[in-house]
Every structure is written in structure tokens, then in C-alpha cells.
Symmetry: C2
Subunit: 294 residues, 2 copies
């Protein structure tokens, strides 16, 4: 019944005897509680968040559904272990392209140990977190029947420069663009959803999301079958969420705005080139805010 997730692009993997997440056939994702109190903090976040009436419904869709907690045989066979039961975001997807973007120029949180702050501070400077306000933690990009998935190694991703990130994002976001008008162009839907999330972050002072990731999920195949939205944006990894106490999450918001600017640049460049190249061509497919392409 339980198996190792097929499309995980970052985080702890259930392989080589390590403790990792599991999925089932019913669309649920089982995340073992991490050690060092991280797991219990993430559980506490999901429990608070899922009943927090201050979070509007149109924002709730950016978070995985939380089904509760469950004792489960650990993926490494080390015995029973408490798991978060979450929505499996890629359940039912055929060839999903997924990118995990860790948001914020600073991944440490006030009140953490000096050792933890130092570790994060150094990694933020070595990766693009300080320069860009975000870093890519991992991705897989479906390039078609022949090429299959492009999924670089973890170390390669971690050594991405600003220019690498720019070109990878460009390739990722443009991958959903229409080819001969056969496939839907959904890069505008990515932008639209990110802007919706941004509007909330400009106002919400409830939570500060430290070291949290934004998942971008693209899946043209599913759309052609008409079953699910082609674009989904989800926030994940809430081990270091603190109370906002009346202050906006400026660290998350700044990084999100930087990501938005990149995606928006890709879009305006592609519009320009399509105008130049295709003045006489058909109107391109539009995307609606729920990620369905029409």
C-alpha cells in the first residue's frame, strides 16, 4: 500500500535505509516527523493553520491539505513512527515538472541557536539566497517522450549561480509554452498565482515562514486529459514558522517578489518574441487563475 514517492525533487528521501516520506494510492503523502523538534513544530503548524479562520479560502489552496497524524511503520523499517498525513500533490499526475524554490534571503529564524544561524547564514551566502532572495532546492523538468525528465543532482543544484537560476527558471517556465498551438501555454498562470500569493503576504501578519519552500508544479499531459489544473503552486516545509505578531513576513515577501520578477521577465520576453515571429498566428491559449488552460 505504501511506497516511496516517485517525483520528489528535494528533502529527505526514503532510500538507502534513511527515513523518508511515503505515499499511498489514495492521494496521501506521509511525512515522518523530523528530529530536533522540527517534526513536532511542523505538526503544530499544520494543526493551527488548518483551523485558522483568518486564512482566506483562496489562500488555503496554496497549502497541502492536512489530514492529521498517523503512527506508521517507518520507511527504513526502524519501527513505528509518527507521520504527518498530507495531500499528495503529484497524485494522479502523469509527467509532472516540479520545482522546489526555498524562499527568503535569510533561512534562519530569530531565536535559533548560534550554531544553526551560522550554518544557515553561510549556506545562504554560498547559494543564491542572499543575492536573489530565493534558491532552487531541486527540480525535475519533463522535456518530452524522447528526452524524458531533466533532473540534475543535488550538489549541482546547490551550486547554481544567479545566471544558472535565471536560465533554469526560463527553461522551466517556458516549457509549458505552446508548440504549434497544440499544447496549452500556462506560464501566465504561474505568474497569476504567484501574484495572488504576494497580495496576501503584503497584508498578512499572522505567520513568518522561515526556510519554507514554494513548489511549482506543471503538468500539461493531465490538462490535455482535462482532469486537473496544469499549474499548481504549493507552499511546503513548515518546521520553522513563527508568529508574525503584527509584522508582515518581509523576508518571504522580498524573495517572492524577486521570483515574480524573474517569471514576469520570461513572460514578457516570450510575448515580445512571439509578436515578432508570429504576427499572423492564432491567438495563444489563455490561462485562468485556477491553473486550467483553455
Amino acid at each position: 500500500m505504501f511506497k516511496v514517492p516517485e517525483h520528489q525533487v528535494a528533502g529527505h528521501h526514503a532510500s538507502d535505509g534513511k527515513l523518508g516520506p511515503l505515499v499511498d494510492d489514495l492521494g496521501r503523502f506521509y511525512k515522518p516527523l523530523q528530529s530536533d523538534g522540527r517534526g513536532s513544530k511542523e505538526l503544530a503548524f499544520y494543526e493551527t493553520f488548518s483551523s485558522d479562520t483568518r486564512v482566506p479560502d483562496h489562500i488555503r489552496r496554496f497549502f497541502p491539505v492536512f489530514y492529521g497524524r498517523q503512527l506508521l511503520e517507518a520507511s527504513n523499517g526502524s519501527g513505528k513512527c509518527l507521520h504527518l498525513v498530507l495531500q499528495d500533490i503529484v497524485s494522479g499526475r502523469i509527467n509532472p515538472s516540479i520545482m522546489d524554490v526555498k524562499i527568503g534571503s535569510r533561512t534562519w529564524y530569530p531565536g535559533a541557536s548560534d550554531e544553526y544561524i551560522k550554518k544557515c547564514f553561510e549556506k545562504d551566502g554560498k547559494t543564491t539566497s542572499v543575492s536573489l532572495g530565493f534558491r532552487i532546492s531541486g527540480f525535475q523538468l519533463y522535456e518530452g517522450k524522447e528526452s524524458g525528465f531533466w533532473k540534475p543532482g543535488r550538489n549541482d543544484v546547490q551550486s547554481f549561480t544567479v545566471d544558472d537560476v535565471r536560465s533554469v527558471l526560463r527553461r522551466f517556465v517556458s516549457s509549458s509554452s505552446s508548440t504549434g498551438n497544440k499544447k496549452p501555454d500556462c506560464s501566465a498562470a504561474i505568474l497569476e498565482q504567484l501574484l495572488e500569493l504576494k497580495a496576501w503576504f503584503e497584508d498578512q501578519t499572522i505567520y513568518h515562514f522561515h526556510s519554507c519552500s514554494l513548489l511549482i508544479l506543471l503538468d500539461k499531459e493531465s490538462v490535455l486529459k482535462g482532469s486537473t489544473p496544469a499549474v499548481e503552486i504549493k507552499l511546503i516545509d513548515f518546521a520553522h514558522v513563527l508568529e508574525g505578531k503584527g509584522v508582515i513576513d518581509h523576508n518571504f515577501l522580498g524573495g517572492l517578489c524577486s521570483l515574480i520578477k524573474f517569471v514576469s521577465d520570461v513572460l514578457s520576453d516570450s510575448k515580445e518574441s512571439s509578436i515578432t515571429a508570429n504576427v499572423e498566428s492564432e491567438k495563444p491559449h489563455d490561462c485562468t487563475s485556477n491553473g486550467n488552460c483553455v
Copy 2:
């Protein structure tokens, strides 16, 4: 002809034999070039910026006018010294309230020395920079004929907590609210100008403003005389501006959004209370985006 500025709220003062800025009667502000290469970097910024055609006119008004450089007898009598010649923002003002807000949760810049980064990092954590995305560096608030100016000491300002900043900002922003409809209410103009600046920062990838300050200047007296706008927002201190290289200034933008949220909260609270208290009263004064109150 030259004198020590009357209304300086932060930065180096020309007093006690120290090197500081001077003003003249023609509305010019003379800032001596700081040591450690800071002065020459700031001069280079002003020279580049003043001829940068990528900066739109409606944004240029958020920067002091740059008139060039000039060799001048230093304020401490130590001989001739190169000065930046800038617009004196408070020239002609009667009783200006001024607040200096250093924007950004991080005041150090990539490429600085380890020692400098460490110094900034520690100060950012001790002040509200990390928690709020900005800190108040100094202010003076004109409270009326009897009370005169409220201008706390530098050490007091530097030890402000988040709650101190909230209450000081509230008092500052509300100080321009109308009393019996005799005086103009210009808190909306502050917000409007900050939002205009924000829109530029969401898009501009030319400059990254590290350790830069945003001055908020309020002056009701001048408005009653009809001479100058009651609200002016100016960016100052450009010793650590780096090239943006196609990336937005997410550190500045995040802090600016946090400040905007505070100001916007003050405004919505005061609207609520005025609706409750004054349902039958006259329509309040409106503010236009150029800071004039009508």
C-alpha cells in the same frame, strides 16, 4: 554663508569639532565625503544616477537633487575638503517633523569585509532591522507651539523595540491628522508616496540600495502658507549602492512593504475611529500624490 543644519536627525553631526554637513541660505546641503571610500562611492552613485535615463521622473523626485561636488572649508576647520552638493530638503521649512528610517532587514552588502558584515549583522539583530525589515535611525516630531519638538537621544532610538517603533510611527504619522478640520490630514499622502516608490522597486533591477535611509518629512505649517508640499519622501545615504544586475532589490522592497503595512494600519485604524466618533462630521481633507493637501 555656511551653517550647521538645524534639523538633522541622524548621521554625522558637524559639532564638537567633528566633520559634518553644512547648509547655505540658497537651499543647498553640503555633505563632506566620508572616509574609507564611502564618500567617493556615494559621489559616484550621485553622478551615475543623475544622468541615468532609466530612472523615471516620478521616481527621481524621491531623491535629493544633485548639484555636483565642491571643495569647501570643512565644518571642523581641518582645511579644504570635498563635499557633495545636494538639495537641502528642509530648506524653507518652518517646523518640519522628520523621520530617518534605515530600510532593509540586512544592512551589509555582498562583497564587504568579514569585519564589516559581522558589525552590521550584529546591529541588525539588536535593532529592529531583522524583525521589521527596517529601523528608525532618528526623528524629530513637532508637537505644537507649547511642546515644541520631540527628539529622543540617539541611544534611545537605537534601543527601540518593535512595539516602540509601532507606537512612534503611529504618533508620527498621526501627527498630521486634522484637528477640528483646521489642519490638513496628510497621512494618506505618506502612504500614497510609499506605494509609488514600492511599485518602482517591484520592477527596477538597476540598483541595490544597502544601508540606505528613507526620510519622511511632514510640515503642516508650510502647507498652511501654501508654499511647499506637506509630505516629502526622500531616499538618502548611498555609500553602499551596488548594481542590481537584473535582480530586484528584494532586501529594500521587503523592508519598504513592512513600513507600508505599519503606515497603512495607522490609517485604517484612524479611519475606523473617525467613522465611529464623527459620523456626522465634515468630509476630511484629501491628499494628492504630490503631497499637497487640499
